[in-house]
């Protein structure tokens, strides 16, 4: 498979997953505010952690002077300035899909394109203005549809593996970021209000984990929640589960380690996975939840870079000959500036 095509599939999957997680987070937070609002807390207290989680704190304050719910929701959903807003994520996913449109099943293209058309049409904004919850649900549903359609129509070839890697790497990253929203709360269950059961419950909702967790444990216990979101081997959004899927896809992509040794991403993923396969919640608490998550995110970033360098960028061009005078060709998003050059004539 062409590296560019693999790269586009990977980013298409990542951005769809990113949009879905953002929608789920906003939905869960709305619930939380409605449940906790009567206790007279500052509204901003609920929104500041969200901006921290998505890493949009600075970007938001460049545009707004105050912290209010509607502004944060606008910023995270539709503001064009925010490159990671829901609408922009869907746009980027669609742009990637469009570039490889003839190389993915038509159904997959249409599932992405339909969601994009809904979100960018007046109809999407109308839903958003009427009922926020419906809007976020549309996005979650659109993303689930995309995943289902891909599962039902795609060949289980390299393209599929890159779709899996993109989806699960993004999901592992997002789950850990969501957990981080609660990492400063007390980890011991107690009867005092300081224990914040609603926050933990909201965390479960934002990871779509509430149902799964309740089956596994009836009461909201911070340590159990953390264990579930990090280490569950059956919950499909736990970090452990995600890393297993990434590992599986990477192993399928790579030839068995021969003389040339194991490819860097396979090694990095295996090492990271071991922490979740063999670690315990106690060891995580000992490290400190926030510190643990920090370390995890930097490792996920490294893994992402390793994958890019190994399968897309080609660090090992030297195997073919001298690498002198290699022009560095940027891959990834296409630039509008090139449109002009596209317009050279075809003999119509």
């Amino acid at each position: 498979m062409l590296s560019r095509v693999a790269d586009s599939i990977y980013w298409m999957a990542r951005y769809m997953e990113r949009a879905e997680n953002l929608a789920r987070l906003l939905m869960a937070n709305q619930n939380l505010i409605l449940d906790a609002g009567s206790r007279g807390q500052e509204e901003g207290n609920f929104w500041a952690p969200i901006l921290m989680t998505t890493g949009d704190d600075e970007g938001y304050h460049e545009l707004y002077s105050t912290l209010t719910g509607p502004d944060v929701e606008d910023y995270l959903s539709v503001r064009p300035e925010n490159l990671n807003s829901i609408v922009n994520c869907i746009r980027t996913a669609r742009e990637n899909a469009r570039m490889i449109r003839d190389q993915i099943p038509d159904e997959v293209w249409r599932s992405v394109n339909d969601l994009y058309l809904l979100m960018t049409s007046g109809k999407g904004e109308q839903i958003r203005q009427q009922t926020r919850m419906d809007y976020y649900e549309e996005i979650v549903r659109g993303s689930c549809l995309f995943q289902g359609v891909a599962r039902a129509t795609m060949m289980r070839d390299e393209g599929w593996q890159f779709l899996q890697i993109g989806t699960y790497l993004e999901r592992a990253d997002k789950t850990s970021r969501l957990v981080d929203m609660c990492s400063a709360l007390p980890m011991k269950k107690s009867s005092q209000a300081i224990f914040h059961p609603l926050r933990w419950q909201s965390l479960l909702h934002s990871c779509s984990a509430y149902h799964g967790y309740r089956e596994h444990d009836n009461e909201i216990d911070p340590q159990q929640v953390l264990e579930f979101l990090f280490l569950s081997d059956r919950f499909s959004r736990s970090v452990r589960f995600c890393l297993r899927e990434v590992d599986r896809a990477l192993t399928q992509l790579s030839a068995p380690p021969g003389q040339q040794g194991m490819p860097a991403p396979v090694r990095a993923c295996g090492l990271l996975r071991a922490i979740f396969e063999y670690g315990t919640i106690e060891s995580i608490l000992e490290t400190g939840v926030h510190e643990f998550i920090d370390d995890l995110q930097s490792k996920l970033n490294t893994l992402g870079n390793d994958i890019f360098e190994t399968y897309v960028l080609y660090a090992d061009l030297s195997t073919v000959g001298p690498t002198t005078s290699t022009p560095s060709i940027p891959l990834g998003a296409w630039h509008a500036a090139q449109d002009l050059h596209m317009q050279q004539q075809q003999q119509q």
């Binding site: 060709i329 296409w334 003999q347």
Partner: protein, 492 residues
């Protein structure tokens, strides 16, 4: 109501009806069959066909349109039929012509015998904007330069076929030929089955075979790719379509990399060497090291790889000197010079503004002539004299006098017409024909080609970018069968 009741052939050569309004024998079955359809039936089938094109993304992008709107290339359901006897003549003419053009290119880039013998003036060759002196003396695989040619043919008021121009760089449209046939299979299966029509769906394998022949001799199983400028190019649909038909990857410039004069594509499994490139990028954009430095579409070093013989390009570099509109005037001479034969398909008489007396004639008769800029294609930069205003004529007069080498003129031909379905009845519209000629181990012509229609009433311009449409073209392999049992009708 009969959709053909008020059909007026005008003073034109009509493909379907002879001067005394008799149906020509090869259209017999088709007309009988279509006349059983009500205007409504026909309109319904037309809508279904249009919807299918849109759904399948059989579209092109219109340049200069800010929104980058994708449009379908309008399709008319009534097929154009070419009898076998007529096609044999056309096919022989096309093979003769491409053979001469390839010999001319080989000559121009090597011995220049035709120039030295005074048959083609040196200035005509050297001033052609697509002439590539950098390629002098470079041998290309099997000495073939134009592997894929789309020659535009027209018929005059006597029904004679003329060559209007040779497209020897990146001719487009072959995908529409295949898609149009698919549309006809869906819309008129019985009619198609009842006639002895030559199939076109082997084009993908013909093209692949032609390309594989160019691979370096030592390569047993060559890797072939289609090189496209990218998804935003107007003809991207076609590039992807042809790649799929051939079962080869479609790549962009950034997917390819040159090492040691060899071309590789970047894949997830590493670099894979490429042996033949069907490039749909013009010379100018092909290699920023050799041609336009600002091209982001091309592949740095690809020209050297081609020179070294490690990769083949189709079409070759510098073929534009042969399809230049001024060179065109000399093609009949080339045929005589290289093949010692008379041209089977005549040229349209052509005046070159670079010739003093012809220039004078041109500027004095702008209202009667079709003037074309030599380096433009797609129906851009042209003046259709009888349909132009005084201001437009004055504008062209100035341009011709300023840069005579850039202009040619031809008499306004009375192009043949064909019935086209308009709202609820048929009207005559001007058409042309672009057959596709492939030169590999042998020269092959795809039966028929793309029949283009000037959909605007009275218009003579058929290009897709100028509001043209197309028809399926049916070449018969047995003329009698098309009229067999004249008198019985075939259900549509």
């Amino acid at each position: 109501m009969d959709t053909l009741a008020n059909y007026d052939t005008g003073n034109f050569f009509d493909e379907v009806f002879s001067d005394d309004r008799q149906v020509r024998p090869h259209y017999d079955r088709v007309i009988k069959s279509l006349s059983t359809l009500s205007p409504n039936d026909f309109a319904m089938r037309q809508q279904t066909a249009d919807a299918a094109f849109l759904k399948q993304g059989v579209t092109f992008t219109v340049y200069g349109d800010e929104k980058g709107t994708e449009r379908i290339f309008p399709f008319d359901l009534m097929p154009r039929i070419i009898p076998q006897s007529e096609w044999e003549h056309v096919e022989a003419g096309l093979i003769q012509r491409i053979t001469a053009l390839n010999l001319f290119l080989q000559d121009v880039y090597h011995g220049e015998l035709i120039i030295k013998d005074g048959e083609v003036p040196r200035e005509v060759v050297e001033s052609a904007s697509h002439y590539r002196p950098e390629f002098k003396g470079i041998r290309v695989p099997h000495d073939i330069y134009i592997h894929i040619c789309g020659t535009d043919l027209v018929r005059d008021d006597a029904g004679t076929y003329f060559v209007l121009e040779d497209n020897g760089r990146c001719p487009s449209g072959a995908s529409y030929v295949l898609e149009n046939r698919q549309a006809m299979k869906r819309s008129f299966p019985n009619l198609l089955q009842s006639l002895p029509v030559r199939p076109v769906d082997s084009y993908g394998s013909m093209l692949r075979e032609t390309l594989a022949y160019l691979a370096p001799a030592e390569v047993i199983d060559p890797v072939i790719v289609v090189l496209t400028p990218g998804v935003y190019n107007s003809a991207y649909f076609e590039h992807a379509y042809l790649a799929r038909q051939m079962g080869v990857p479609i790549v962009e410039g950034r997917d390819l990399i040159v090492r040691n004069d060899r071309v590789f594509m970047r894949t997830t499994k590493g670099l894979v060497q490429v042996h033949v490139i069907y490039r749909r990028i013009d010379d100018d954009f092909l290699d920023p090291l050799v041609f336009r430095k600002d091209s982001l579409l091309g592949v740095p070093g690809i020209v050297n790889a081609y020179r070294a013989g490690h990769v083949a390009l189709a079409n070759s570099i510098g073929t534009g000197v042969a399809d230049d509109k001024a060179t065109y005037a000399y093609v009949p001479k080339m045929i005589r010079y290289y093949l010692d034969q008379d041209p089977i398909l005549p040229n349209v008489p052509t005046y070159l503004a670079s010739d003093e007396s012809e220039k004078t004639y041109m500027v004095e008769n702008l209202d009667k002539l079709v003037v074309k800029a030599v380096n433009e294609s797609g129906g851009y930069g042209m003046l259709v004299g009888p349909h132009s205003t005084k201001d437009q004529q004055e504008e062209f007069r100035k341009r011709i006098l300023a840069t005579p080498r850039n202009y040619i003129a031809q008499p306004t031909l009375s192009l043949s017409r064909h019935p086209v379905f308009v709202e609820d009845h048929f009207e005559g519209r001007h058409i042309d024909l672009r057959p596709y000629v492939l030169s590999g181990e042998k020269v092959q012509v795809l039966p028929g080609g793309l029949t283009r229609v000037a959909l605007k009433k009275g218009s003579l311009v058929v290009n897709s970018s100028q509001g043209g449409g197309s028809k399926d073209t049916w070449v018969l392999w047995d003329d009698k069968a098309a009229c067999e049992g004249c008198g019985t009708s075939t259900p549509a």
